[in-house]
Symmetry: C2
Subunit: 471 residues, 2 copies
């Protein structure tokens, strides 16, 4: 390790409290992007980040986006030294993260206010910070910003040219990202993108996520009678949209757990046996993935382990169901309408738009004359796999291995980070997904947390990666 | 028509405004029995009715019930002249109605406050009173009370001995009724019960409902993971209780619309061809029942018309569905739990307790190891058919035919009025269901209404029936 980098790592050690305080400032902003009444909070989080970047010597600005709803601004920043570095042939990295967070319902299950971050020691003695967005993705975004701060503080400059793109709609469709990338191609193009929005396979093993699942997220509302009906007077004779919704949803998986839409598995390839073996070492049985959340066995497509089902197999899930009477007691009605939020997770090779159309055609074909369906798209993005020959992959794996004292591995991820695929599509460059979250961080759930080990090892990891990517 | 009765009918004509004002007073009390925070309102409605009865020369009292929740009081009243009439061999009738009402959600669909009754003229020129409970059942209860008032006002006495039983839990399981009847057998036993909680087949044809469907109402909650999960990280591998709920519900009807529970149709008899013909005259096609609510075709069991499906065939309905994210936008979770309110409508011959057990066994058999089910019963009552040889049936049909100028018919009803069966079981007497509601009264729905024609012809009908039942 160079003495230069060692000095930066020592700076990180000595200035941890201030870094944590800055993260808490960001976590206090309730930037829930899918809820309209939090629009001003999203803008506030964007402004806070732009101010941070300016304080580090970046030119930074909020960039309006209006191709689609909700239209929360992008934060774009460039190190003032970038031009000089690029002229001398230095590597240019674009860092991507998102400042928006998921909703906080059900609020009653939170032990503390989701937007009042607090430090807690878990049962296994780990120190964590609890807040909505702590792990997904504010804590992770701040690991990279703090690494930049440390390099600048100690040496007055970064090892490479660095630009930032911080999004505010990752949790609500993110439909503005691709047009924004395309409209700002020259400004955003770099040698490689770094994305910090993924998890480690366990507490000690660093990883680069080399595959992601895409998503087709759909909301359907079925509408039948012009009003809720008395289920005695009309029961049997009147179309029941809640029952029909259950039939439609139930028909989307067969008895082997496979999705039934025609053409759904077109383009899907079986996982490589060597990769499966590596994953089996990390997750020897289904419980290794599931027991932390109170489950024991893989529920989806037969013939694949739990980790394979999430990392490399497409799926269908019900995310929300609504219809009829939901309060205390009982109400004998046939609801006039019923709706569901549904999503398909896609692997590389599947075409999201074709699958969306196949889904809608399937629903339409199931509708009797008296029932109408209204469809709302909540996003469609393909699966993604990193180019194994990326010149930046090895350097990053090595930097991670050094920081954590354990060989970094390549893993899959069942979630969607459409930006990785969109960066490749729009900007023609690779995206390396390096993240420090843990499986038990409860992202999207009540009492979301981020470990201080994740946070500080994360900052140190980026300090090393920035050095490793320099030419 | 006797001059004595004609005088009473003229009194009804001349005192309509005051009768309507009394109905409005009762409608202003929000006696929603299934919602705990309305318990005091239920008691208030009971007290209001007891006061009315006392004003008419009845001994009346609130009777506590505590065999089951929610425990709203019964109102019991006896005409002070009963003993004298019984000694002289006069007929004794027990009138049953209920003072509780359904919840009012969704409130936004009401054009006026559900508990501020208002008079309205409908598009077809009919005057109606709009309020929750206007038709089901406060308006109908008041037709009988006003008929008694008119007899007493004009002649100082009723033609027959009259007792009242007014319930406060008809819309919330009504589990206290049967034990209350059994515990008060001697006090409540009469020659015949009169129940006013049913509808007419059209605007002009009076009817006695001679069959009713019973109900098995069940709530199930499926519980899987210990928290909502990220649907990317866990999707496919984690059990999804919302999807499983849809599978379970979907499996409860086959492709012919028949309920699939083993033994479900045991004891069910096909309807008599003569009865079917009478019903076909009233409802020549499915649209005749359904078009008023925006539907066109019978959705349930194939081989039966819409009216047969509701009047004489058992059914299964989804009354409410809840699971996962239900707010604006999208949340990529696998819900930890999902629940449904479900009901079976039963015809005479089916055993409600056997059907409840068959349902629960079916659900339990569908559960994988990682999912638990919690069951809550919201009532179980058998179907009902009137004894065709009741000595009071013909007299009542004739009185109705005279009042409406059209021959009264015997109809079925798809709804449940467990009291009819329970009165037969506990008190060993027949119950005649005579009601003046209309199909478009929107009972259980927003903007419930009761026509002034229903109300005043209803009062006059009871004036005649009381005379017709006298020996």
């Amino acid at each position: 390790m160079s003495e230069k980098m060692a000095e930066v790592l020592r700076y990180v050690e000595s200035n941890g409290d201030a870094a944590l305080e800055r993260l808490c400032d960001l976590l206090r902003i309730p930037s829930i992007s899918t809820q309209k009444h939090h629009s001003a909070d999203c803008r506030k989080a964007a402004g806070w980040l732009a101010d941070e970047l300016r304080g580090l010597g970046f030119t930074a600005s909020l960039r309006e986006v209006s191709w689609a709803e909700p239209g929360h601004p992008m934060v774009v920043g460039h190190d003032e030294a970038n031009e000089e570095k690029l002229q001398s042939g230095q590597t240019h990295v674009l860092f991507y993260g998102h400042y928006d967070v998921q909703p906080t319902d059900p609020e009653v299950l939170w032990n503390t206010d989701p937007f009042k971050p607090c430090l807690k020691e878990t049962d296994d003695g780990r120190k964590v910070i609890v807040a909505r967005g702590a792990s997904d993705d504010k804590g992770q975004v701040m690991t990279f910003i703090e690494a930049c701060r440390a390099w600048k503080a100690v040496h007055g400059e970064l090892p490479v040219a660095v630009s930032f793109l911080l999004e505010g709609e990752e949790e609500s469709g993110g439909e503005n990202l691709l047009p924004f990338l395309k409209a700002n191609l020259e400004e955003l193009k770099a040698d490689v993108a770094l994305i910090c929005d993924t998890a480690m396979p366990d507490r000690k093993t660093p990883a680069i996520t080399t595959s992601l699942r895409g998503t087709v997220a759909e909301e359907i509302e079925l509408v039948a009678a012009c009003q809720d009906l008395h289920s005695g007077m009309y029961g049997n004779a009147a179309a029941n949209p809640a029952f029909l919704l259950c039939q439609i949803i139930s028909g989307l998986r067969d008895e082997k757990g496979r999705v039934t839409l025609p053409g759904f598995y077109d383009g899907v390839t079986e996982p490589d046996e060597q990769v499966r073996a590596q994953w089996r070492a990390l997750y020897p049985d289904d419980a290794a993935l599931l027991e932390g959340v109170g489950l024991s066995q893989a529920a989806g497509e037969r013939g694949f382990s739990a980790i394979e089902q999430t990392w490399c197999r497409p799926s269908f899930e019900v995310n929300g169901l609504t219809g009829g009477y939901q309060d205390d007691g009982f109400k004998t009605i046939i609801p006039a309408r019923a709706s569901a939020k549904l999503s398909f997770r896609l692997v590389p090779g599947q075409d999201p738009l074709k699958i969306r159309e196949a889904f809608r055609a399937y629903v339409r074909a199931a509708l009797p004359e008296d029932v109408d369906a209204v469809f709302t798209s909540h996003g469609a993005s393909p699966g993604f796999a990193v180019n194994g020959e990326s010149p930046f992959l090895l350097a990053t794996l090595e930097a991670l291995s050094s920081e954590w004292g354990q060989r970094a591995v390549m893993t899959g991820c069942g979630g969607s980070i459409p930006v990785a695929e969109e960066i490749r599509e729009a900007l023609g460059m690779d995206a390396l997904m390096v993240g420090f979250a843990q499986a038990d961080d409860r992202i999207h759930s009540p009492n979301e947390q981020y470990g201080l080990d994740s946070f500080f090892h994360g900052i140190r990891s980026w300090v090393r990666i920035l050095a490793a990517l320099a030419r």
